[in-house]
Amino acid sequence: MDRQALDYIEMKVPAKAEYVGVVRLTVSGVANRSGYSYDDIEDMKIAVAEACTNVVDHAYQDNGQMAVVCNIYEDRLEIIVSDNGQSFNLQNVKEKLGPIDATKPVEELKEGGLGLFLIDSLMDRVEINGGAGVAIVMTKFLKRDEVEQHDDGVSAANAQNQ
């Protein structure tokens, strides 16, 4: 895979709910410009909104910024959402990742926690880096000639279930 991004876009917005839509529309425009299909663009819109919502909800006590980077490669789009706020215990979060368990009584269903699971399901490759803040790196491959490209078995399995 080529290492060098063809184009690079960066934006910083306040970590507030009202800016999540701004980021979502920007990424939608970038993905559209790069030739992605309607469904892939919609997937990326949700994934980037989920990442931003996590920053808005968890990163800062007071005001902060979130940075969104789009790296456009020949064969893929890499979207990075990062903050300088509080990190979280990644292992804890990963263990809880999953869809709704329909066998559980309604009372026990959780109203949150689906965000990271959705990101994982909708993108082809996802990396989360902790440290000073959190950075989530989400990649979607550009599909050409209707040939499915997945380097992540989980996402491929999900796509087939649809």
Binding site: G21, T53, I100, A102, E107, L118, S121
Partner: protein, 110 residues
């Protein structure tokens, strides 16, 4: 990017028409509208999502909350008018297994 919310009340049932985008910014508006509807005993609350063109986990969370509230008040929650994208989201998250989703929605909601 505001949410349009309109409730039509009938006998034993209420229909909430939602339009626009449901995300972190607008989900609280939806929550404020939908939860009180489910708090009336033995009511059927129908949420018509025909004019919703975007929803993410914040919106799904509101529906989970509404489902719980409806159950606590012996009421029922039903979702109608989901487009293919939104249906897909319910299916990926497994919410379609616990939610009452009306496939044949148009007549029901009118």
């Amino acid at each position: 990017m505001d949410l349009e919310l309109r409730t039509v009340e009938g006998k034993g049932r209420k229909v909430l028409y939602v339009g626009g985008e449901i995300d972190a910014h607008t989900a609280p508006q939806l929550k404020d509208e939908i939860i009180p509807l489910t708090e009336e005993q033995e009511t059927k609350v129908i949420v018509d999502l025909t004019n919703v063109n975007y929803i993410d986990s914040t919106g799904l969370g509101v529906f989970i909350g509404a489902l719980k509230s409806a159950k606590n008040h012996n009421s029922k929650l039903e979702l109608t008018g989901l487009n293919d994208r939104i249906k897909r989201l319910f299916s990926i998250t497994g919410l379609d297994e616990v939610m009452n989703i009306d496939e044949d929605k148009r007549e029901e909601a009118k």
